[in-house]
């Protein structure tokens, strides 16, 4: 299925600025998912539904026992749930809670951390909805909070609660959290890393490589603020590193060009590393609707899973 990015579809999704004003993470997630599913119905991302691979539009002859009645009640449309094998998906959401995630440009009233937590919450919601096991790892230079991936009553609430009350950490270090995950997770699953990845690239390749070698499916969301990409500052000032506290006199007029070159290089390195490891990479700026980020993510993941070695699912049983 061809994927087309339709701006009109994007504008129909919730404005992140408006969305982030919803203080309750639970409500915020529901607002996103509602918009997301609505888009799902009308979206031309057909491949999306297929990509999502748990749903397929009902066709005559399908076993009505596998109709998803919730969607039917909500949307008046009929979809068949495709059940995986007896092994459900285990997804580990690794959310960066370091100080650099607390950056947010003055034009936005929210930070990268708010965006990342909302994204993680949405993913956890989706996983829970489809009866997959979701877990959470909040980290900065160490693991702040770890919720093992499970599918059980109250798991989503626990994850949302952990995301909501997470306090700002210190600096970023991917090594230890990824080592913890690698040591903690025995069975293969899905590892979703949500971070700004503003750290030396060699550590990233090494750490993600462990997980890839263990057979995990990797997804990397790199969350950046638009100002971090554009570096549109007017006046010279003392720029202070939010993680180290170091202060440097910067004249944006003279520093911008070099900054953007280095940043682009870094982003390219990150993307290349992810591709090398077979990880799905998605660059999300905080001014983009979350639904779009999710959609893009689904699409890319579907493309990657099109390869024969990556899927473990079985086709749904057809109704007789």
């Amino acid at each position: 299925m061809a994927r087309s990015q339709n701006n009109s579809s994007i504008t129909r999704f919730a404005d992140p600025a408006v969305l982030m004003r919803i203080r309750s993470l639970d409500l915020r997630v529901k607002a996103v998912m509602e918009g997301f599913f609505n888009g799902l119905h009308r979206s031309p991302f057909h491949g999306f539904s297929v990509e999502f691979n748990e749903y397929r539009q009902y066709t005559e002859g399908d076993d009505p026992r596998y109709l998803d009645w919730k969607i039917a009640a909500r949307s008046d449309r009929y979809y068949i749930k495709l059940f995986e094998d007896e092994t459900n998906l285990r997804c580990h959401l690794l959310v960066d809670n370091s100080r650099s995630m607390s950056f947010g440009s003055s034009s936005l009233e929210y930070t990268k951390a708010d965006y990342a937590k909302t994204l993680a919450a949405c993913l956890a919601y989706c996983l829970t909805q489809q009866r997959d096991a979701a877990g959470l790892v909040l980290f900065d230079e160490d693991v702040d909070d770890l919720i093992p991936a499970r599918f059980r009553h109250g798991q989503l609430r626990q994850i949302l609660g952990a995301l909501e009350k997470a306090e700002q950490g210190q600096s970023t270090d991917l090594t230890r959290p990824l080592e913890r995950v690698a040591g903690h997770v025995r069975k293969r699953g899905l590892v979703v890393l949500i971070s700004d990845l503003l750290a030396p690239i060699d550590g990233l390749e090494r750490n993600l490589g462990y997980l890839a070698a263990a057979g995990h499916e990797l997804v990397v969301f790199q969350i950046l603020d638009p100002q971090e990409l554009a570096f549109e500052f007017d006046e010279p000032a003392l720029f202070q590193d939010m993680e180290t506290g170091r202060e440097v006199y910067i004249d944006p007029a003279s520093a911008k060009k070099q900054y953007r070159e280095k940043l682009d290089q870094h982003l390219a390195d990150v993307q290349r590393t992810c591709e090398k490891l077979g990880a799905v990479y998605e660059l999300a700026t905080t001014d983009r609707p979350l639904e779009v980020a999710l959609s893009e993510f689904m699409l890319r993941r579907a493309r990657m899973k099109a390869g024969p070695t990556r899927s473990s699912r079985q086709p749904a049983r057809r109704a007789v």
């Binding site: 950056f103 100002q227 202070q240 590193d241 939010m242 520093a255």
Partner: protein, 741 residues
């Protein structure tokens, strides 16, 4: 405008610094938190194309602060006032010249005279000058009023002439008293100050440490008065001195303290003592000692004419006293028959305080006046026994006088014995003696005598009811029930001595008396009674004045000899009478040390003089004075001899007068110490002679009065406050602009 420290004006060059900082400012205008600096390198300072000054007002404020600070430190003042001071306005100067004993040191007096002449030379035609001498007190030689009254052309000459009459004395120094008095003199007639710009005190003195300057701390100096010190320096700082310790010769000898000043170099001294006559040898009528010219300057010297000095000497050799310390030595084996001694310290170059005088304390004299019949040679008369009963001892002397001898009542040092009825004149004498505090003793050989005794003590007969009659004695009566605690019987307050039964009394009077009623002033107490209960000895007391002083009459109700009793032959008679006299003489009288400058009342020394008193000074000068009205001023060290005629014959005594010990503390006080005591001294040191130094001093004086620097500092502070406020405000504005868009 002139400047005291013009070099500080170079500090104005620092004004370039704020301009420089302003131009190459790279102060960041805000702080921007950013997620990471890993893609950023520090930027070089931004230099604008024009390098122009952006905030003129801020720069001007900073520059103004720097300029004002440099201006203030350079101490500006207006010199035109100085010229006015020199040409247009006058000053009022009081010259204080030290004439204390320490000024006798070699060379000091000549320096003092020179300094006075210099001050007179510097005086302007409009200036007022007063000349005052001081030691313990201020002595005006020429007042401001006198100065104003003199012709302008003769003023200085008059001052110099009066100066020639001045010379150091023997008294100590009291700056704490003298300087405030001099300030009062200076500021007197305040209306005159309207035309006077400056009031100045010029102190010409050696400013020795014993000047009693400590009390100056409490003095509030007027702002209009300045003090200039013309400090005199002795040729040598070596000085040691000696003082007598105590007023008597102790068992181990006469104690003498030898002091050595801190700056002294000699450490070893000899002490010599020689006996001198306490009274004049000459029996000629008192005359003024001779005065003869002794040197080419025409000055006269008084030659001591009467004191004789004897050898041998008593000496203590090689006394070691380190500088700044003192040592007490004991001079023993002084002859007990000699009363006056001169002590001399040798080995010290400064000799004015190297002598001390000592006189053994004179025993007090108790006068016993007898009012009775009989002859001193008649063994049948009471007088015969009384004259022999009272003995003079080294502790006190007794003058026994008959009733016809007139002498002044001397308070509680007299005893009056009455053994016959007194006529009116005699009664008045006795009553006067009683009221003066004399102890009156009445031998009541008759009833009338007993009744008279009460009248002496309590003249108003209706206050105390009494009567005396002859008692009926069966055989003889004995004394019993004796109040041994009373001073009359106290010597017998011992088991071995308290037997009064061996005195038979064949006749006595009996008294009916009542306690005083209606008056608390008089009481009658029975001190001893007979075995038949009749009173034998009664004490009648009357309060004499509001201080509580009491007069006392002791009444014996029996005769002391003849047919009444053998009291005068009783073993207790003589001890009893002498104990009475001992009490009257007093055993706790203190002898005070006398120093030069003190005054004593002649009557206090010649207490029972019946005529004028002859006084011989240490210099030999004699004078005759009335003891009642005369005060003797002890103006020189040495032995003062005092002779007079007492009721029992000629008497004499001697007084040793020594220098004020503080005058021997010759180390000079520093100017800083005087400033610390509050004396308003100028910053410049004294003894300025050159016109340039004078001009500098005047410039400092002007600047210290005008104090422009204070106002400039204040202005600088205000400007800095304004700059701080403006800089803060501009920084806030810039920080808002620096926030990322």
């Amino acid at each position: 405008m002139s400047f005291l420290a013009p070099l500080y004006m170079a500090g104005m060059a620092a004004v370039a610094l704020p301009i420089l900082f302003h131009m190459i400012r790279r102060t960041p205008k805000g702080k921007v938190p950013f997620s990471t600096l890993m893609f950023l390198e520090p930027s070089p300072p931004r230099v604008t194309r024009r390098s122009s000054i952006e905030h003129w007002l801020l720069l001007l404020l900073r520059a103004a602060a720097v300029i004002l600070l440099a201006f203030a430190f350079s101490r500006p003042f207006l010199r035109q006032s100085e010229d006015q001071l020199i040409t247009g306005e006058s000053k009022r100067t009081a010259i204080l010249v030290d004439i204390s004993a320490s000024m006798r040191r070699e060379g000091l007096w000549a320096q003092a005279l020179k300094q006075v002449n210099l001050v007179l030379d510097d005086a302007g035609p409009l200036d007022e000058v007063s000349l005052l001498a001081f030691d313990r007190q201020l002595q005006p030689l020429l007042t401001f009023e006198e100065w104003d009254g003199l012709e302008a052309s003769t003023r200085e000459a008059i001052v110099r002439q009066r100066l020639t009459t001045l010379k150091p004395g023997w008294l100590g120094t009291d700056l704490g008293r003298v300087l405030p008095e001099a300030v009062t003199t200076l500021l007197d007639h305040a209306d005159k100050l309207q035309s006077v710009r400056q009031a100045e005190l010029i102190l010409i003195s050696d400013i020795q440490r014993g000047s009693r300057a400590e009390s100056l701390q409490a003095f509030d100096w007027p702002d209009s008065v300045t003090v200039q010190i013309r400090s005199l320096k002795a040729k040598t700082n070596d000085n040691s001195s000696l003082q007598i310790v105590g007023t008597t010769i102790h068992q181990d000898g006469l104690r003498i303290r030898v002091n050595n000043e801190l700056d002294s170099r000699p450490e070893r001294f000899d002490l010599l003592a020689e006996a001198v006559d306490a009274v004049p040898v000459s029996t000629e009528p008192p005359t003024v000692a001779q005065t003869i010219p002794t040197d080419t300057s025409g000055k006269t010297q008084i030659i001591p004419a009467t004191h004789r000095r004897e050898i041998p000497e008593w000496a203590i050799r090689d006394i070691h006293v380190p500088p700044g310390q003192n040592r007490v030595v004991k001079l023993s084996d002084l002859p007990s028959e000699r009363t006056a001694f001169r002590l001399t310290l040798t080995g010290d170059k400064t000799s004015f305080d190297n002598e001390a005088w000592f006189v053994r304390p004179s025993p007090p004299i108790v006068t016993v006046q007898y009012h009775g019949d009989g002859d001193a040679s008649d063994a049948q008369s009471l007088r015969y026994y009384l004259e022999r009963a009272f003995l003079s001892t080294p502790a006190r002397e007794v003058d026994f006088v008959a009733e016809d001898v007139e002498f002044p009542s001397t308070g509680n040092q007299g005893l009056t014995i009455v053994s016959h009825l007194l006529d009116d004149d005699q009664f008045q004498k006795v009553e006067t003696a009683f009221k003066a505090g004399n102890q009156v003793l009445v031998v009541g050989a008759t009833s009338e005598l007993c009744e008279q005794a009460f009248r002496i003590a309590v003249p108003q007969s209706d206050i105390l009811k009494y009567s005396a009659t002859e008692a009926a004695v069966d055989g003889y009566a004995m004394l019993g029930n004796v109040q041994l605690q009373h001073p009359l019987f106290q010597p017998f307050d011992d088991a071995k001595l308290s037997d009064f039964t061996k005195l038979p009394v064949w006749k006595h009077r009996t008294l009916k008396h009542q306690a005083v009623t209606g008056s608390p002033k008089a009481t009658a107490t029975v001190l001893a009674s007979f075995d038949n209960g009749d009173p034998a000895v009664i004490e009648i007391k009357q309060r004499l004045d509001v201080s509580g002083r009491e007069g006392s009459v002791l009444l014996f109700t029996f005769g002391w000899h003849g047919s009444d009793s053998r009291f005068v032959l009783w073993s207790k008679f003589v001890p009893m009478m002498n104990h009475l006299v001992d009490r009257l003489a007093g055993t706790d009288r203190e002898t005070t040390r006398l120093t030069v400058g003190e005054s004593i009342h002649v009557r206090d020394v010649a207490s029972n003089a019946t005529s004028d008193v002859e006084i011989t000074m240490p210099s030999g000068t004699r004078s005759t004075v009335n003891p009642e009205s005369s005060t003797l001023r002890l103006n020189e060290p040495g032995v003062f001899s005092i002779a007079w005629k007492g009721p029992a014959g000629p008497r004499s005594t001697a007084l040793a007068v020594n220098l004020d010990p503080l005058e021997s503390r010759t180390s000079p006080l520093g100017l800083d110490e005087l400033r610390a005591l509050g004396v308003p001294l100028p910053e410049a040191t004294v003894d300025l002679q050159s016109p340039e130094e004078k001009r500098q001093l005047q410039a400092r004086e002007l600047e210290s009065r005008q104090r422009f620097w204070q106002w400039v500092i204040l202005a600088s502070v205000l400007i800095l406050l304004a700059e701080t406020w403006l800089a803060g405000r501009l920084a806030q504005q810039t920080q808002h602009a620096a926030q990322p868009s």
